[in-house]
């Protein structure tokens, strides 16, 4: 390996797990997440001299990861969609209720369109602002807000999350 790859190795060792977590949240499949992360890091390696010279290489790599995920066109569809009926939160106690709600939310998130899911992951897991999300997705902040609004509306009206509120 060439000398510059030393810093690349350090980067992968330091940031690889976080990238895998992000990929996993985006595609909701462990194997797909690994493939996605590896594909992106292989591309990063080829451009590492340039990327490592950027002020925030991690932000750039995450952007590559999200956009690679969005462009995958279901070449290997995980086939996992939330089809199982969720337990009713009304039947659970407080602690269990939280667990069940989260479980339901995970399934519902997996069923959202890719772009809406990406917006929610970037907003609620990566804690990015709408402006930062817009830069990652190469769209306007208004589009980000619109996508987030639709995604949240879908979740809000889903039975697994709302039965208790009815």
């Amino acid at each position: 390996m060439r000398p510059m790859e030393g810093s690349f190795e350090e980067y992968v060792q330091a940031r690889g797990p976080a990238l895998l977590r992000l990929a996993f949240l985006l595609c909701s499949d462990r194997h797909l997440a690994e493939d996605l992360t590896q594909d992106v890091l292989i591309r990063v390696y080829r451009q590492w001299r340039r990327i490592s010279g950027l002020g925030h290489p991690d932000a750039y790599v995450k952007r590559m990861l999200v956009n690679e995920h969005l462009s995958w066109r279901r070449r290997r569809s995980n086939g996992e969609l939330p089809t199982a009926e969720m337990s009713s939160p009304a039947e659970q106690g407080d602690a269990a209720d939280t667990v069940v709600r989260r479980h339901a939310a995970v399934h519902l998130l997996a069923g959202l369109p890719k772009r809406q899911r990406a917006v929610l992951v970037l907003r609620f897991y990566e804690d990015l602002t709408d402006q930062q999300i817009a830069e990652v997705l190469r769209c306007s902040p208004a589009t980000v807000r619109s996508q987030a609004s639709r995604a949240l509306a879908t979740l809000r009206t889903s039975r697994g999350l709302t039965r208790q509120d009815v």
Binding site: P17, F24, L25, Q38, I42, R101, V106, L152, T162
Partner: protein, 215 residues
């Protein structure tokens, strides 16, 4: 459920789900393997693409050359550094940069044109049979037939007519040197020519330029 509560739920769900993400213990190894595999694929692709491009270029060059008539300018554009060389009323266009009639029996290895009968003594031709020769050459001769002497039994021979003069053209590829060899014989002019070059296209260009001058 208001937006804040829903946001908190989504945030908590994502963080809980993230705990199930792959650990990444073998990520670096997988990436390294992937990089190497892609590099191999890329090298193979470059080699095969280069070969295909080279083949297409040669085919295109030969196509242009074969569709051009002698002296119509097209062939000049394909081989701009040629100059005429005549011997016994046979004229060929030969590479202008090649040495003309270098010292007799000088070590062969330099591209050359020999069109002087006195320089075509047998000892000077001896290097032709050696596998170590590197130079390209066009040899004009009289009183000998290169096809049987140098091209060997594997050469193919066909009749040819140049400017109304009949003769034979033999061709072969030297397995030891990789050189393309053509032997042109026009008995009525008492001339034979050996063309010994690396590029089949150059050999074709030289041959195609053949013309009979005033007898």
């Amino acid at each position: 459920m208001n937006d804040e509560q829903l946001g908190a739920l989504v945030s908590g769900s994502l963080r809980a789900q993230a705990a199930d993400a792959p650990g990444g213990a073998h990520l670096l190894q997988a990436v390294t393997t992937g990089v190497r595999r892609k590099a191999v694929i890329r090298r193979r692709w470059v080699v095969s693409s280069s070969a295909a491009i080279a083949l297409a270029a040669v085919s295109l060059g030969l196509g242009l050359w074969s569709s051009a008539r002698p002296g119509d300018g097209t062939q000049q554009a394909a081989a701009p550094s040629l100059r005429p060389s005549s011997f016994h009323h046979l004229q060929l266009e030969v590479p202008a940069s090649w040495a003309l009639n270098p010292e007799p029996c000088s070590p062969h290895g330099r591209d050359r044109v020999i069109d002087h009968p006195d320089l075509l003594q047998v000892p000077c031709l001896t290097p032709l049979t050696e596998a170590t020769r590197l130079g390209q050459q066009v040899l004009f001769s009289t009183g000998r037939t290169f096809s049987t002497t140098y091209l060997g039994p594997a050469a193919t021979t066909r009749p040819i007519t140049i400017g109304g003069v009949s003769g034979t053209l033999s061709s072969s590829t030297n397995e030891q040197t990789g050189m393309t060899e053509f032997a042109l014989a026009l008995p009525s002019l008492d001339v034979s020519v050996l063309i010994d070059v690396r590029s089949p296209a150059l050999a074709e260009t030289i041959l195609h330029s053949a013309r009979v001058t005033g007898q």
